[in-house]
Amino acid sequence: MAEEFNTESMLDMFLYESGQLLEKLEGIILEKQDADCFDDSDINEIFRVMHTIKGSSGVLMYENITKVTHKLEDVFYYLRESHPDDVPHMELVEKVLAVSDFVTGELDKLKNGDTPDGDEHQLVEDLDEFLGRLKGEIKKQGIQMPQANKHEEPKQFYITPVAGDDSHFYRISIHYRSDTQMSNIRAYSATYALKEVAEDLLYTPDDILSNEASGDVILAEGFHMLLQTKSSKEEVIALIDSSEAEEINFDELTKGEYGKALAEFGREDAVTIDLGEEDKAEEKDKKKDKPQPGDYVVKTKEAGKGKTLAKNQPKQQSIISVNVEKMDALMDLIGELVIAEAVVLQNPDLKVPGLELSNFQKASGQLSKITTELQEVIMSMRMMPLTNVFQKMKRIVFDVSRKLDKDIELEVIGENTEVDKNIIEHITDPLMHLVRNSVDHGIEENAEDRTTLGKPAKGKITLEAKNEGGKVYISVKDDGKGLNKEKLYQKAIDKGLIENKLISEFTDKEIFRFITLPGFSTKEEVTEYSGRGVGMDVVVKNIQSIGGRLDIESVEFEGSEMTLIIPLTLAIINGIVVQVGNSPFVIETASIKEFVRVGEDSLIHEPSGEEYIVLRGECYPFIRLNERYDLADSISNVEEGIVVVLEHEGSQVCVLIDKLLQEQEIVVKPIPPYVKKVKGLSGCTQLGDGSIALILDIAGLLIQDGERR
């Protein structure tokens, strides 16, 4: 029993950890896909990821995962140790992604309880061949030993050490007393202290941590550092721990001297700390991306140089994963707490006349404050940034654009927009589909087609998320072909998807919406990625299932924009609590246009019994909730009640209610499945006093209303 349990939890851990690692891996790869090569920290990171997955998959005896990760680890081990030039970066990126896909696939199998039985041979062979080629190339260049190549790479970094006018250059030599213990560790702590201020730091011997013998070298020859920094001499001296040091030589150098010293260091087996290289990449990125502020590449590089060190370390946000059920339970409990609080604070026992309550009031005010805050916190806990979803999209653009041989850049805006976790799960697939569509159908096949239209040869897809008025807008915009209205119309007619009406009878939006009809696909051939005609209608269905919608804008030859408009959260809506008869109802605030009191004279009665309301010259359908739902003790005189004008996707309806109770953030709960679905109700919720209110579903009301007429 016990053993079984252990394997289970180990497997869970393995899946979770590996999943996280792969995500991180993909992040690194995609961020650097346009760079010329990975820098040292990336190589280390990828190496580490592969090593970890290899280790844990080995323990659990998933041999194919172990083999593949081991191979890739080999490749990166070689890269790390030998720093070969001319690494075919794109190919390397592809290889890493292939491995990442393979492992992800196997992990999925494990998650579904299957055996991971993917065939790794092809991949391993590919990697072998790739590694062989890497090594071979070095040999061709006449450099026999990889080690000999070691300092070639660092030198490259030095072409552009970003030296500002106010940078100072120092040569620092530390000689420790001959009886100093662990002088290499001391030397390391000195370098560590200097990294804080360093723009660039070189030291020799370079293997102070990994090689214990270096301690002896330091004792014999001293420890030498080259430092480029903005800090003054005094500041730097203060940073170095001078205990145990016999002598510290501190020379300020000019830029020229520094260059020479660097060359010397190079010959002396020097190795840089990544700072210089990282900075270089940063500069490059900045230049490249300047025209697009908010671009993700720029964002991650915003940290100042002083923070470079921290940045090099993997971004460890302190996050724990919590079972969603537990979160829901916590949310329920907090809801209960709020109710219990109301029961205590409004207890009838307190209403005894002449009771001195001022202290009680103070204390209860404090209590209310805390519970409100608690509620806010739990609600915010359910919110997650879209970062991960967007990262997946980057991957898709990368894959598909390369497969289709299209040159496309992806701009990502607002990836930190937060939405409810449930919603994230629901939008990933639709969004993926839209992005694929944009790459496949949106952007032109040939760059010439673009340039003749005066567009840049490189296609551009913009993925943007923003939060507006309680809704999240996620748009996928391309600057490609755009939609051709005549073609869409003709196709829809040919396939018999629409009524036989003239094209002029449809609005642009209606025509664009044809692509969301089941069985509609505008592309003649089916490609690997899209075009089976099962796509867009599924997208729309998925989005509708979470209460969102899809908006399509397009200008032919200029591009299209697909926007998903989804509620911020499924679980919490901002609602107005109203009363009809004895029952409270909740109406989502966003769908309320206005509250009006109307006179009997603005009612129009049809002979069939239908009623309309005329407001400012416009005629709206009118629903009396009390009659619709057979509610007793309610107001039926329009002049005594309140008319609420509701809007949903452009159509409006007026509803008669008795009175308004309050505005409240409400937690949406489904109506138990035992009760069959009632049209016009989308769920229920608990009010502050513990009673239950039903949530009106405007869309349902409208449909129901339409059916009756």
Binding site: P584, P672, Y674, V675, K676, V678, L681, C684, I692
Partner: protein
């Protein structure tokens, strides 16, 4: 060692089952007594304010809030086609859990927990009254003392509901 442990565990389990076996929560509705196997009963709560749901069968009285959980309640009297009665202080809600579906049953009066031996349960007589509504949920009759108790099968009760709901949907779509 392990074997012994297992046996012990088994015995414990059996014992637990035993303690519930043959025990029935009985309640009175009108003149008749009903019984539900106690293993289905979660708890018994006092009458609560009920939020009515429009457009549902009249025996579904609405929803109650059971410590944050929203569960539907049905009036047993109305369910069995009896005249509804006023709710009084004695009126209770028996919360039952049938395959993770929680439902509250409004009953007039809780009687007691009875132990009914298997052999004193007889199937309801079927005198060609198959169309008779409430027979579907009554799987047995038990005689204890001088009263006859109708034993309810909650699983059937719930499944029946679901079937009815589906049927209704189909009818509507037609």
């Amino acid at each position: 060692m392990a074997e012994e442990l297992k046996n012990e565990e088994m015995e414990e389990l059996l014992e637990e089952e035993d303690s519930q076996k043959g025990k029935f929560m009985t309640f009175q509705t009108g003149k008749e007594f009903f019984g539900i196997s106690i293993s289905y009963v979660n708890e018994i709560i006092a009458m609560q304010p009920i939020a009515a749901i429009p457009e549902v069968d009249d025996y579904i009285k609405g929803l109650i809030n059971l410590r944050g959980k929203i569960i539907p309640v049905i009036d047993v009297r109305v369910r069995f086609k009896m005249e509804p009665s006023e709710y009084t202080d004695r009126t209770c809600i028996i919360v039952i859990d049938v395959n993770s579906t929680m439902i509250g049953l409004i009953v007039e009066k809780i009687a007691e927990v009875d132990t009914i031996a298997d052999d004193s349960i007889v199937p309801p007589p079927s005198l060609g009254r198959k169309e008779h509504e409430h027979n579907k949920y009554v799987y047995g009759l038990a005689r204890t003392g001088d009263a006859v108790k109708l034993l309810l099968d909650p699983e059937k009760l719930i499944r029946q509901e679901e079937i009815e709901a589906v049927m209704e949907d189909i009818r509507k779509e037609d």
